[in-house]
């Protein structure tokens, strides 16, 4: 619930294509960001092109709220970021998506992120409504983020800093004693096969061998497989 409260509101300002509204919804939901607001969408709302492009993120579209102006869209927000690609002659702090995400979580309250129209971005008045500017640090020689890509990077960062459940732990490595058994079996097999023919080098060779089999952190099952392989080769 806490992270729901802190989840930023994505505000698309004068979006042109319904398709881009759909791909934005999809990008958001991938990272658990669900609140979408539209300011004066060019082709009205709802837009029949949005649904197919959302690839199942219908709940985001269904919950989208429409406002006539940026002011109205952010009236209930306690912090507003304006996304821009290029630097503006505005005296505002510029943050990365990561900094914005971190601070959104820490600050709490209701945060909005403004994204401008596809072709033109936000105008200076709209940027002026924001406390801070959010700029994705793209390649200076090629900055061509589309709307959904800019949104997904912000949503990804927000999610990355929420305490989402992490992946299941891997199966743990086998206890050292089982690795020892494997090393011992291989050592014996190699001894029999005459692998250690130069007596003086045998200790170094044994160390190498142990290291080769210890470093990977093989699981108990993997150790058994390797022992089976050695048995098979020496039968």
């Amino acid at each position: 619930m806490e992270s729901e409260a802190a989840s930023p509101i994505v505000v698309l300002v004068r979006p042109q294509l319904g398709r881009n509204i759909g791909t934005t919804a999809r990008a958001m939901l991938n990272f658990g960001v669900t609140r979408l607001r539209l300011v004066a969408p060019r082709d009205g709302w709802p837009n029949p092109d949005a649904g197919p492009a959302a690839s199942g993120a219908d709940e985001v579209l269904a919950g989208a709220e429409v406002f006539p102006t940026v002011d109205a869209a952010v009236a209930d927000c306690t912090h507003v970021y304006a996304t821009t690609v290029r630097k503006r002659g505005l005296i505002k702090r510029v943050v990365t998506p990561e900094e914005a995400a971190r601070e959104t979580h820490m600050r709490g309250g209701r945060t909005a992120i403004l994204f401008g129209a596809e072709a033109t971005g936000l105008d200076n008045d709209e940027v002026g409504r924001a406390q801070e500017i959010l700029t994705v640090p793209v390649n200076p020689d090629f900055s061509s983020l589309n709307l959904a890509q800019a949104v997904i990077l912000c949503a990804y960062e927000w999610s990355r800093h929420a305490d989402l459940p992490r992946a299941e732990p891997l199966e743990p490595p086998a206890p050292q004693t089982e690795v020892d058994g494997l090393v011992g079996q291989l050592d014996e097999a190699l001894e029999t096969a005459g692998y250690y023919r130069v007596e003086s080098r045998a200790p170094a060779a044994r160390r190498t061998l142990r290291s080769l089999l210890t470093r990977p952190g093989y699981t108990a099952q993997e150790v058994r497989t390797l022992r089976g392989i050695i048995s098979s080769l020496t039968r």
Copy 2:
């Protein structure tokens, strides 16, 4: 130059739509990742739909290399990540895009990231070629990343970590083709020894074996040692 050397190679495996190859190139170049390889693109290469979707990232498309198999595409790579959405029954370390980016920079060498076909992803054999699995931590209730979105998150993370100081290089892992040689030698030895006695289980056993030898990231010297061991046991 240093970061150019460490920049990962994006490998699209059996990509279906030219449009998606184009949006992938665009996503890459936004974050300065330029090396693209295509494995058996469904509609051949070049593909007339790629260029318009790349929105100007033509240099990435022009430099794309085509390979018939994943093996060939990663033969000169020292570390391979396989991207997957769902968990697999494979014992491999699973990393996030951030961890992969950080480690790619620190490890040096030539890193490849495999992305599967749009509809089906990578198959188990293809995942078996990789040292580690890269999974974007998406919303468990809605995981619907398209190809370019998965790529942009990896490229973004790589770029975000590009200014980190490099660690002293460890001895790099052997190129994949040398690991292939090791796997091939062991496979032959086991075949001769009758290890694959239950025919129906042979493919799974082979995958396990490949995974056991790929995951540790053995150096060229270690691969030679292991080959010597097998030769010794089968002489």
